[in-house]
């Protein structure tokens, strides 16, 4: 036997020796699905069964909602998803500075949700485009004078930072800083996408839109953290922050309506009338009452687990309604003064259900990957101890 063969045999023997306990440890620590995860998986699957055919039809036949509306439910979900994802990243980034230890402990879970929301937001742009394959032109021949391009790149960077926070064992503060900057950049840019649109007076006259987008993103992110994460040591601080954000959003909305109403005539005044007493009144009052006032009262009066959960759910619903209301109110009055109508088609609703399922699926897969990596790391440590 040559020296090389001897070495190889010895290496194989050593590998066989260490492999047995390693397998046992890996087997013992292999992540399993909890009941909640199984339920979420089934919901995700059902949503995707509805969503995937809707996406395929939407992408191949170019069908959207009914009515004279440029952007509808799809873009509402895009803004919601990107807003939640980027704001979660900002909060997670903040936790890296040691101010929110409970959130820091949950950073991997929150980073998975953040990445899932940002990824699905990009997917929505793809599905919603009239010619989806040309969306790649944003990468290959971007026009940087368009805020849409900046938004696209900020979302991509925010998603990347989420992934780095997710897989880094001890993420540094610099990463937290980047998370905060790009998390906020996404929501601000999205608000500005609407605010620079001179063709839509309700958006371009309303400097509150970027502020509102930041507030709504943070409201949804904090509500989600309170709803699904266990952060008892920070619950009070997070609830206080949510309370302040809800109050601020209420003020911005009130200012928007009062300024519009003060104008008295013109497209902006007509838009406000449509919002407050016209066709968009159910959305407007739904957002103000259900999405802002009721959670505000619930959190201010009683802070039990049930009331906090109810307020969090209502706050997220309010953000969804608020963004839809912002979108539709901007397009409510046409240039010639006529009023437009909008009704989402079944296809659009199906596509939106699919997006929810897609987020759930990515979160579940992400959790399994993280759990698997954790189990592997632990088994390596145990095998090193055994060796």
């Amino acid at each position: 036997m040559t020296t090389q063969q001897e070495k190889a045999t010895a290496h194989t023997a050593q590998a066989t020796h260490t492999k047995a306990p390693l397998d046992a440890v890996t087997q013992a620590k292999r992540p399993r699905f909890t009941r909640a995860q199984l339920l979420a998986g089934i919901i995700a699957l059902l949503c995707l069964i509805v969503g995937i055919p809707s996406w395929v039809i939407q992408m191949t036949t170019v069908q959207f909602g009914e009515g004279l509306v440029t952007w509808g439910l799809n873009i509402d979900l895009f803004f919601l998803s990107a807003g939640i994802g980027s704001s979660l990243l900002a909060v997670t980034g903040l936790s890296l500075f040691g101010v929110l230890p409970g959130v820091y402990a949950q950073r991997k879970f929150l980073s998975i949700i953040s990445f899932a929301c940002l990824f699905v937001a990009s997917w929505i742009v793809f599905v919603d485009a009239g010619t989806p394959l040309r969306v790649f032109s944003i990468i290959f021949s971007p026009q940087f004078n368009s805020l849409f391009v900046w938004d696209f790149y900020f979302i991509a960077l925010a998603a990347l930072i989420s992934l780095i926070i997710l897989f880094k064992r001890e993420p540094k503060r610099a990463l937290g800083c980047l998370g905060i900057v790009f998390g906020l950049a996404v929501t601000i840019t999205e608000g500005c996408v609407l605010a620079v649109s001179v063709g839509t007076p309700h958006w371009s006259l309303n400097i509150g839109i970027p502020i509102l987008f930041v507030l709504e993103g943070m409201i949804a992110a904090l509500a989600l953290i309170l709803l699904i994460s266990r952060v008892p040591q920070e619950e009070k601080r997070l609830v206080n922050a949510l309370l302040a954000l809800l109050a601020a959003a209420l003020v911005v909305n009130a200012v928007d309506v009062l300024v519009g109403a003060y104008l008295g005539s013109g497209i902006e005044a007509t838009t406000i009338a449509v919002m407050v007493v016209g066709g968009l009144a159910p959305l407007f009052w739904g957002q103000i009452l259900l999405g802002l006032l009721v959670p505000l009262i619930l959190l201010a009066i009683r802070r039990t687990r049930v009331s906090i959960s109810c307020a969090a759910v209502l706050a997220i619903v309010g953000v969804f309604l608020g963004k839809l209301m912002t979108l539709l109110s901007g397009q409510a009055v046409l240039a010639d003064g006529t009023l437009s109508t909008y009704m989402p088609s079944l296809l659009e609703l199906g596509a939106c259900v699919g997006y929810v399922g897609f987020v759930l699926l990515i979160v579940l897969v992400g959790m399994q990957i993280v759990a698997h990596r954790a189990a592997q790391n632990e088994s390596v440590l145990v095998s090193e101890e055994l060796a």
Binding site: A129, G130, R134, S146, F148
Partner: protein, 201 residues
């Protein structure tokens, strides 16, 4: 060079010949009008009057649609005409939201006027290549006709000579004279879009 149009609303009789000529030349889909005539009533009986205003893409010098396009599909050409490259347009509809004149249409389908027959007419077939579902389209000021030395179909078809086409940058042109003489104004000029379509009222 900056091509544009002066529209004398006092001469417009609301016959829609311009809208029909445009549809005939470009073969736009059902419900899609690159230019049309808006009408409304002013005053009250017995002094009521019908008012007409032809509207189309204003071919703005500072076109908001071109500024927001993420892929550079919408451009302002050197001759001032704003065009959409349908081979590049990804159908995000940001330009539709940005246009203050509602002059853009997102084409959901290239279906003809008789979908129940399952076929397109010969006319529709000859114009099919001009349109692509999932993209945005608008008035192109008949730039192909201009290249041949002709005037746009809408101004050519106008029986009342309410539409005058020409080069706004040429001080010797009829259109430049009309703009100066009548202080022709653009729509929503306060937005700073610099429209190349001016109105005499």
């Amino acid at each position: 060079m900056r091509y544009g149009m002066v529209i004398d609303t006092s001469r417009c009789v609301g016959c829609n010949a311009c809208a029909v000529a445009c549809k005939q030349i470009h073969g736009t889909a059902p419900g899609v009008f690159w230019n049309h005539v808006e009408r409304w009533e002013e005053g009250s009986y017995p002094n009521a009057r019908m008012k007409y205003q032809p509207v189309m893409c204003n071919h703005c010098a500072n076109a908001p649609c071109a500024e927001v396009c993420p892929v550079g599909a919408t451009v302002v050409a050197e001759n001032g005409i704003v065009t959409v490259d349908k081979e590049r347009c990804m159908g995000c509809r940001y330009c539709v939201a940005a246009c203050p004149y509602d002059a853009r249409t997102f084409l959901m389908s290239t279906e003809g006027y008789y979908p129940e027959l399952g076929i397109k007419t010969g006319f529709e077939e000859t114009k099919e290549f001009l349109h692509e579902a999932g993209t945005v389209e608008k008035c192109i000021l008949c730039n192909d006709r201009i290249a041949e030395g002709k005037e746009p179909a809408c101004s050519k078809a106008c029986p009342a000579r309410a539409r005058i086409f020409g080069d706004l940058a040429d001080p010797t042109s009829t259109i430049a004279h009309l703009v100066l003489q009548h202080q022709a104004h653009g729509l929503q000029e306060d937005l700073g879009t610099g429209p190349s379509v001016r109105y005499i009222s």
